[in-house]
């Protein structure tokens, strides 16, 4: 008895929504970056599930690229957080309002 594709889509939707809510709700920049990781993982689950369903390995190759981009995003994002912390000694996003109208 195999698992239907829709189960994977629902799981990925739940994880993506959780990450989305986290990005909108939390004030800590590190948690926001963690929530972005959640969303990337949700899309990866989707890719792998479709790859298995269609018997096409291209979906797994795309997960590979998404992983590369996630690694780059983490490196640059954490460097930005460290630079921000040096400038303001805080990482709450409420403290950074320079670009707000």
């Amino acid at each position: 008895m195999t698992v239907p594709l829709s189960y994977y889509l629902v799981l990925s939707g739940i994880v993506f929504l959780t990450g989305f809510v986290g990005v909108l709700l939390r004030r800590n920049i590190i948690i926001i970056l963690l929530s972005v990781e959640l969303m990337l993982n949700a899309t990866n689950i989707n890719f792998v599930a479709f790859s298995q369903y269609f018997h096409d390995v291209a979906g797994q190759v795309f997960v590979f690229f998404a992983l590369t981009v996630a690694a780059a995003e983490v490196a640059v994002g954490l460097a930005i957080i460290i630079a921000l912390y040096r400038a303001k000694s805080a990482i709450n996003i409420d403290e950074f309002q320079l670009l707000k109208w």
């Binding site: 629902v10 590190i30 948690i31 689950i45 190759v61 996630a70 640059v76 954490l78 040096r86």
Partner: protein
């Protein structure tokens, strides 16, 4: 049997992702994310993507999460308020998305998509890693090179952003 494994992994993934968002301490959030990464790797194994499961553990759990924990401990954060002021707006947007998802799933009536015929790209490879390698180094060779360029740019950018004396020179001058 397969469904038992799926429901176990799905339950832990969903619970851990909720914990990532809900926990107050960033270190606990990162550890919840670690649990989630391991279970996503397990889900990949049940989907016969063994190579990606290994890469998931090595890259996500081994590299990315260690980087997160490193920065969290480096910054020595105090615990502070969890949610900021735009949460009513966030609630509206989130509720809209949830309703849209529910409507879409109900409207589609849980029908499975049609399997496209003749698009199989697994050519003459026996293992999962071999199949990925075949496609990655032939069809997706150019994106593969672009990915290496992205990593190079990210590395240089991270070093330049986190370098201390650049910030100091700018603030003094």
């Amino acid at each position: 049997m397969e469904q038992v494994f799926f429901f176990y992994f799905a339950l832990v993934i969903a619970a851990a992702s909720v914990l990532v968002v809900a926990l107050r301490n960033p270190i606990y959030s990162a550890l919840a994310l670690l649990i989630m990464f391991f279970h996503v790797a397990g889900l990949y194994v049940t989907l016969h993507a063994e190579f990606l499961a290994a890469v998931q553990i090595i890259v996500y759990a081994g590299a990315i999460l260690v980087l997160y924990l490193f920065v969290v401990m480096l910054l020595n954060l105090r615990q502070d308020d969890r949610y900021h002021r735009q949460w009513p707006m966030a609630g509206i947007v989130g509720a809209t998305l949830v309703i849209e998802a529910i409507i879409l799933t109900v409207m589609k009536g849980w029908t499975a998509p049609v399997v496209a015929a003749g698009t199989e790209t697994t050519v003459g490879a026996t293992t999962n890693a071999g199949a990925i390698g075949d496609v990655l180094y032939s069809t997706y060779l150019f994106p593969f090179e672009v990915a290496s360029l992205i990593l190079l740019v990210a590395m240089i950018g991270a070093i330049m952003l986190a370098k201390k004396d650049i910030v100091e020179v700018n603030s003094e001058g």
